[in-house]
Symmetry: D2
Subunit: 125 residues, 4 copies
C-alpha cells in the first residue's frame, strides 16, 4: 500500500509525527480487507491492538510517497501477529510488530472465524 505524506502528518520538527506511522500501518491493515471487498469489522467484532514494538529508522517528509508492507507472522485462535515495514523508495524507514486480539461486543477475545483465518493465511510469512 502506498501513502503520501501531507501537512496533517507532519509536526513542527518538519517531519512526520511519530504516532502517524501507526496510522499508516492501520491503513495498510484495513486496506488488506477493503481491496478484497471485505471490512475489518466482522459481524460486530474487530481486531484490537494488544502490543506494539516499533523502530523509527529514518524520518519522512512532506510529499514523500511511502510503501507499507504487511506480513502475518503468527495466527492463533483469538489473536494474530503482523509485521509492517515502511519504505521510502528503497530505504526502510520504519518497522513494527503488532499483536492484535479479536474482540467482540462483549469486549472479550473470541475465536477468529474460519473465513477470516483463511484470509490471513494467504499473507502468512
Amino acid at each position: 500500500m502506498q501513502v503520501r505524506v501531507y501537512y496533517k502528518d507532519t509536526d513542527m520538527g518538519g517531519i512526520v509525527y511519530h504516532a502517524n506511522y501507526l496510522n499508516f500501518c492501520e491503513m495498510a491493515r484495513s486496506e488488506m480487507f477493503f481491496k478484497e471487498g471485505k471490512s475489518p469489522m466482522i459481524n460486530g467484532c474487530h481486531f484490537a491492538i494488544k502490543k506494539i514494538d516499533a523502530d523509527f529508522m529514518s524520518p519522512a517528509y512532506l510529499g514523500d510517497l511511502l510503501q507499507i508492507t504487511t506480513k502475518v507472522t503468527k495466527l492463533k485462535h483469538t489473536s494474530l501477529e503482523l509485521y509492517h515495514e515502511i519504505y521510502r523508495e528503497e530505504t526502510l524507514i520504519f518497522k513494527q510488530s503488532v499483536t492484535l486480539v479479536f474482540l467482540c461486543k462483549d469486549g472479550k477475545p473470541h475465536r477468529i472465524d474460519e473465513e477470516t483465518k483463511a484470509f490471513f493465511r494467504q499473507h502468512l510469512f
Copy 2:
C-alpha cells in the same frame, strides 16, 4: 476551558494545524458536559455538526496555553448554534460558529430532551 499546544497539534509550518482548532472547540463543548458529570452521548443520541464558519486570526505555537469559550447562540427543537472563541492571553486568535443537530441511532434529527435543553439554556448568550 484551557488547552495546551503540544507537538501533535503542530505541523511543519511550525504552528497549529488548522483542523486542530476544531478539535479544541469539540473538547470545550464536550467538557461543558463532563464538568457537570454528564456525557455528550445522551441515551444513544449525540450532536452532529451540520455547519461551521471559522476565522483564523492569528497562529498558535507549541507550548501556548489557549482559552476556549463557548456560548449558545440559538436553541431550537432539534438543533442548536454555538459560538466559540479561542484566546492566547488577551488576544483573540480564532472564532467559530457551529450548527449542531441532535441525531439518534436511526441517523435522523430528534427533539432535544428537556433536560438537555435546560442545560444549554444556562449558557445561552
Copy 3:
C-alpha cells in the same frame, strides 16, 4: 482526488470525525502540487488558512471511497479562495469554501509569485 476512510478517521459515533473532512481537503489541495512534481511549500512560503465555511451534508463511514474536488474561485495578489466538494459515489456529502493567504517566514502576507499564480489559474472556475 480519492481518499479511503480508515479507523483513524472515525469516532465513536461510527462516522468520520468532523475535523477530518478538513484534512481530506488539505490532502486534495496539496496533491494538486504533488501530482505536478511541485510542493505546497514555495521558497519557504506557504498558504495558511484564514477562513472556512463548511457544510456537512451526510456522514461518511469506514471503508468509504470519497472523491474530493478543488476549484479556484478567487485569485488575488496575496490570497486565494478555493471551493472543495466531497462525494461518495454520486452523493455530495460535504462542501467547503476556504480562504488562504500566502505567508512567508516573517509570518506576513506576501505576493504570490507568477509561477504559482499561473498554476492556480489553470484550476480557476
Copy 4:
C-alpha cells in the same frame, strides 16, 4: 499529568484509537518541560523517537480522566529512555518504553546539554 478522553480520541470501536495513547505520552513528556517554564525545543534541537514498546492492557472511553506518569529509565550522552504508564483511576491500562535521541538541525544525534541532563536526572528512576 491528567488527560480527558474526547470524541477526537475515539474511533468507531467506541474506544480510544490506539495511536492516540502515544499522543497522550508525548503530551506528558512535553508537559514536563512546560510546567517548569521550559520548552522541549532546545536551541533548535529536539528529542526524536527511535523505538517504542507499548502494551495496551485495557481500553479507554469517552470522558475518562487518564493519569499519565513518566520516568527516566536511562540517560546517555545523545539519547535517553523513558517509561510511561497510563492509569484510569487505580487501573493500569497502558504502558510504554520509549527511546529518544537528541537531534539538531543537521538531523544528526548531538550530546544532550548539561542543563537538560540535570533536568532529566531529577526524574531518573
